[in-house]
Symmetry: C2
Subunit: 191 residues, 2 copies
């Protein structure tokens, strides 16, 4: 079974009208990583195989989402941990990022059934800092098995990625307490 | 400890700069309920006490999020289930909604420590259909214990609620496969 996508490419649709989607959460608002985590949680609730690879080193070592993933028994890899992002050495940072990307590629291209959803959290920073190109990521997404869903998050998603994706939501910041009211980030909410 | 909020009201801040936040996810895009679920998951990962009350009856009886909540052992109450929303009988629908709201009020006003986060999923429909007023909901939110976080989701959040909330994100639909490409909703992703 095939259907005609917007750009005229044929995309395969699996049994029962199933199709792996490319989902992008972008924008300057809160809720991008959070929505990706919610998506994985919902799918995990259905017994699906999900994982998240996080591109950015966060300042707090043990995030709520990491703890949740451990309790739920799904794979969440904080790839930025254990080394420093954005050192003054572009080549070194790029090499680290590319090694991380290889781990993503493995999961994105694994046969159907190995993973149902692969989430690439904050991957857009890799485009911003020119460690990865949008083209090479899209090339890998094109080669993925037909039922593999891939979620990509981060600010400033490139237009090519938006054009390629199936489902794109922009999280727009309407009001932010940490900016507007000087409230400290709250554990369990922010991290 | 107190701090001056934007509107000049004093709001209490708990130990360690903690403060219960009112968080709104609104807009026409995907990811509102999903972000609320992710937020609860993250907090649950930290051992916090979370619950979600869903105002809208969904078409599929056993959503991924319900299954996930069961597996995780947190309370998710699909209040719309077991009866029909939006019958032709406004008074009957309103009475059902108000009974649901009473269950929310109990949780929002329970002493600190009973719940850390109470999520009211799709509550904006109750405003839209005039089963609840924004004013009465804000009145209850004002009375909540200082550390209680409350998350409200749904399209078209009223301006008064946005003004009252601490953190507001609008999910803006950039691209939607079900609208744009005629792709069927995918289990684990959409529901």
């Amino acid at each position: 079974m095939t259907f005609m996508a917007e750009d005229g490419d044929k995309a395969e649709v699996g049994a029962g009208g199933r199709k792996g989607l490319v989902i992008v959460y972008t924008g300057d608002g809160k809720g991008k990583t959070t929505a990706a985590l919610g998506l994985l949680t919902r799918a995990w609730g259905r017994g699906m195989k999900v994982c998240m690879l996080q591109f950015i080193k966060h300042e707090r070592a043990r995030f709520g989402e990491i703890r949740a993933a451990e309790k739920m028994g799904f794979e969440l890899i904080p790839m930025g941990q254990g080394f420093t992002w954005r050192s003054s050495d572009y080549e070194r940072d790029k090499a680290i990022c590319r090694a991380c990307w290889e781990r993503c590629v493995e999961r994105i291209l694994a046969p159907d059934g190995v993973w149902d959803i692969v989430a690439l959290d904050e991957i857009t920073y890799a485009f911003k800092f020119r460690w990865l190109t949008t083209d090479e990521v899209i090339e890998v997404l094109k080669q993925r098995p037909p039922l593999r869903h891939v979620v990509l998050t981060g600010r400033d998603a490139p237009q090519e990625l938006i054009d390629f994706a199936d489902l794109v939501t922009e999280m727009r910041m309407v009001k932010h307490p940490y900016h507007d009211q000087g409230i400290a980030a709250q554990p369990g909410i922010e991290f």
